[in-house]
Amino acid sequence: MKLFTVLFSGLLALTAVAATNEIAPSAPADVRTIMQEFQKKSATAQSVYMEFVQERVLKLFAEPLKTEGVMLIARPDKIRWETTAPYQTIMLGEKKNVAQFEFNDGKWEKLKLGFPQALERVMQQMTAMNQGKMDAMTADFNITATTGSETVLTMTPKNETVRGVMASLEIHLSPDFSATREVVMNEPNGDLTRITFHAEKYNVEFPAGTFDQNKPLPVAEIKAAVNHVP
């Protein structure tokens, strides 16, 4: 459960970075500058569409455990996190309202969610980050940065209890901040979760029903609409 919350803390940071289609003139040299770029650019995009591959790397397993899906965010406070393989599930959030659907036997079922509070908290964090409010991040993490072929922000939890679950969180960016490459959550025992993003599209107009918490639009229709955006 802690990992769940921590992971979303990472995702919200990612969102802040990814929600931009501007190109920075040069890679910032220090954390403060990068954070300022974060804040500046997070305010520019009204929406973002991203496809992801999530790899859960456990030392025990010979191969990573993979899932694939899409993440959609629309300002000010809508999010859709959908896993499309190897199973299908949709998590939706808007302000304090959250919903989850599971696809089985040819139809979607709305779940009587067991952990709605966690998802609700995530949404509030996401909303704050999309509005460029970085205070929570700097309050909870010590942050360092490296630049090169990509910019990597490494965030170490200040809280010892949280560090017992997550050793660090890495956000990998392109040098010009134009795209988020991946997010890596490192655990103290060497296990990690890596989320790699691709096919980003910004300021897209999502079709009606994309964030509907009773009958969400099928992802195929969203992809078709998004792919028509230049």
Binding site: K2, R56, F61
Partner: protein
């Protein structure tokens, strides 16, 4: 907060589940054909106290080394980690507030043995096999809807079946 509530609830469910089993259904673990060495990837819906908890299950199986089940929430956080040796000895490698060790030993291990083989009794009164990759485990206190997404043949590392490597 919710987990604080759920854990004792599960304890109550465990007791209730043992006390009043539902009507027997015919299911034989001998009918579940799995390779002697494999990894079974599952999507599980755990239903309890009127709520649904979607989980992922990863079961490494070896006829000679045992079974190792790792249960995670959707984002990979480990909720339960269980090792069952070929002789039936159960080791709780990692428990959680949602799945306490006593629950894992008494019920989770039994369910694994019934669904994935290893149980010597001919029928399991709690398990229904709807298809070869879809099982329902229904006890008085909870219900599991278990779907097998993929079965990957092949041996998993020895460390998978080493009970001495308990996560601290």
């Amino acid at each position: 907060m919710f987990l604080k509530f759920l854990a004792p609830s599960l304890l109550a469910l465990v007791v209730a589940g043992c006390a009043s089993p539902p009507a027997p259904k015919q299911f034989s673990p001998a009918l579940t054909p799995f390779p002697s060495e494999c990894l079974v990837v599952q999507r599980v819906m755990f239903n309890a106290i009127g709520r649904q908890f979607p989980l992922n299950g990863y079961l490494a199986m070896s006829d000679t080394r045992g079974k190792r089940l790792i249960v995670t929430e959707s984002f990979g956080g480990v909720m339960a980690d269980l090792l069952i040796k070929p002789d039936g000895t159960v080791f709780v490698m990692q428990s959680s507030r949602m799945f306490p060790a006593h629950y894992m030993r008494s019920l989770m291990a039994t369910d694994v043995q019934y669904v994935f083989g290893g149980e010597t009794k001919p029928n399991h009164p709690f398990v229904t096999m709807l298809t070869t990759n879809h099982f329902v485990v229904e006890r008085t206190g909870y219900k599991l809807d278990l779907r097998i997404l993929e079965t990957k043949p092949g041996a998993q590392p020895d460390s998978m079946f080493d009970e001495t490597l308990v996560k601290k």
